[in-house]
């Protein structure tokens, strides 16, 4: 593969032309649908302050009668404090998204350079890093996240940090295996033979090749981060209760569900599932598109 081809394949995988993707069968459709879901949820969350019919925070308490079932005035009903569930659902994604984005960024900042250098340099450093990463990787993710979140305390940044620690090894592993195989390809060998600097090889030859894998891992990681964040919130390690958050609404809705109040848990629940689903679909589709072994026979 020449560098140009690499770039082209990168473009094809990262910037999915929706129409052309649709022709690539199920995998393409997965990416298209997943992207649509994610983009619309992110967009909804971003413009939430302007589109929520009522204040989703504690200032919006008692805008309606508590526990009103969905009706024209409150399409998603109200919760036990008379807050409009539609507004809370629209605004409630911000915590999850912030946590997810932040944790993915942290993961990339730590995991990618670590993976690149460790595997490129090799030797003792690589072996040690590998062992450490494998140890963390084998660990039950949520439990480690719980332990870290418990020591750090509540809040968005702390949640993101504790999730990031858990997922750094996934990046490391993927990048490492990629680098090891790319290192042996003829064009890297060729670059070495004409005396290219290590830095050049690393950033101009190897990095562009691992980007697609990073994208796949990151999308899958998004879904995991969201589910882990929901789990942390469920056991009380989320953000404070007065911030509108799907995680808290889910935990609160769980309390109300036995009383037949299905709408408080359902709508935020659907959105968490949708968001996680969106990312999973994109990840699944991308990995299949980038791994053409099974794409078409």
């Amino acid at each position: 593969m020449t560098r140009l081809e690499v770039k082209r394949s990168m473009l094809a995988s990262i910037v999915p032309g929706l129409a052309s993707l649709g022709k690539k069968g199920l995998a393409g459709w997965l990416v298209v649908i997943g992207t649509l879901i994610v983009v619309s949820i992110v967009f909804m969350t971003l413009i939430a302050p302007w589109i929520t019919p009522y204040d989703p925070s504690t200032r919006g308490i008692n805008v309606g009668r508590p526990l009103t079932p969905p009706n024209p005035q409150f399409p998603f009903g109200t919760n036990d404090l008379g807050q409009d569930m539609l507004s809370r659902t629209i605004a409630g994604g911000s915590v999850m998204l912030q946590v997810a984005v932040l944790s993915v960024i942290i993961c990339i900042i730590i995991g990618v350079p670590l993976g690149l250098f460790s595997s490129y340099v090799g030797g003792m450093l690589d072996r040690t890093t590998c062992l450490v990463m494998d140890s963390v990787y084998a660990f039950p993710g949520l439990i480690l996240a719980i332990a870290i979140a418990a020591t750090l305390g509540r809040g968005v940044v702390n949640m993101a940090l504790s999730i990031a620690v858990v997922y750094v090894p996934s990046y490391f592993r993927v990048i490492r295996s990629q680098v090891l195989s790319i290192k042996e390809t003829p064009y890297v060998e060729a670059a070495k033979s004409i005396g290219a600097k290590n830095r050049t090889i690393l950033f101009k030859y190897i990095l562009p090749n691992v980007v697609p894998s990073i994208v796949v891992v990151a999308t899958v990681n998004f879904a995991d981060a969201i589910l882990t964040a929901a789990g942390l919130t469920f056991i009380g390690l989320g953000v404070e209760v007065d911030i509108p958050d799907w995680g808290w609404d889910l935990a609160n809705g769980r309390r109300l569900l036995p009383s037949g109040v299905w709408w408080v848990i359902t709508f935020p629940g659907i959105f968490i599932i949708l968001l996680a689903l969106g990312f999973t679909l994109v990840g699944e589709g991308l990995s299949e598109l980038l791994n053409p072994k099974l794409a078409e026979r």
């Binding site: 140890s135 949520l142 418990a150 789990g231 056991i235 009380g236 099974l294």
Partner: protein, 410 residues
Amino acid sequence: MTLRSYVVSRILLTIPMIFILLTIVFIIVRVLPGDPVLLHFEKMENPRAMEEMRQKLGLDKPIWIQYFDYLFNLLRGDLGKSMQDYSPVASQILSAFPATLELAIFSMIIAVSIGIILGVESSKSYNKPKDHIVRIFGIVTYAIPVFFLGMIFQIVFGVGLRWLPVGGRIYPTMEPSGLRIPLSQPPGGFATHLLLSCVAGLVAVMMCVVALKIRGQKTTRKTLGLLVSLFLTVWILWALAGWRFITLGELRISTGLYTVDSLLEGNPYKFVEALRYLCLPSLTLGLVISGVFIRLTRSNMLETLRLDFVTAAKARGLKEITVTYGYAFRNAFLPILTMMGLQFATLLAGAVLTETTFSWPGLGRYIVDRINFRDYTAIQGAVVFYGILVSLVSLVVDLLYAYFDPRIRL
């Protein structure tokens, strides 16, 4: 590499892994927050009590001495003391662990069965509607938060249909400890019991059939079948003959796994009860994990189904089930086995949420309780326990891999 040297090197590799893990946990819980005692108390308002706690927990020593104490204590099986009441964490963990283990084992069985059956079906009808439906099913179950699914099951099967209990491990009068009480009518209708015991029996038989199919050996087939029927007959006869002596009082604990203990006691009624209580939690957890196995089985099956020996087997007119399971699946099985080891960790993590949802008194609930108590030494102990457990499971899985793969076996 011979099997022996592989085993030895794999075991030796586990030691540094556990060591690194212990260090990471120590850093996260002890070093990063600075002073867990300070964290426990939030503010420096009660220096006397804090000093007392430091002394009792040995946290007044320099950090590196604490580290060596921690490692040394671990060697003796000491996971530290609880900040709450200075009780030993290890014994608490060991008493809570069987519940989690039982849940994990059953969830794993459910997840793997669903994953394998659906994954194989999906791969056989590659790119057809059935395949798409299965794949989407796998993705959706993966995206559902455990507690959301659990709650829906509780509402539907517990409150709505009243088929299955929504919380706990066994009917309260059967909860084990040292004493017996007279029985009142336990819950559950005739249909449920009949259904469940039949299903349990069928599952056992099916498992034997599949095992034999995979091994495909004639002599063992006969003996195994006879063994199974012998075991079941003996168990049932024993239970029936001794039913008058069976107490439906407390379960005698020998392993802590209620299903196993009830069998050891020869008490089918308790076994059914334990199964009933296991149903919803393990189904919830199993479903959520199953997505991974579906995906894995499917992709591995797609690869093996294209291999020559599968076509060759078909060309020899072997039965489809033999080709699918004895040929394609048996060769796709090893990566799945590895994944089982890795997913065991995910499963333990998912169990934290499941246990809270179903009031299941296991390690997950213990760790959540400890967090609420800000009991950092106990959290550390529990996390270390999880870490060692996971390392050992992956060791066992790797050894099993070596055992199952004839190419490594020699």
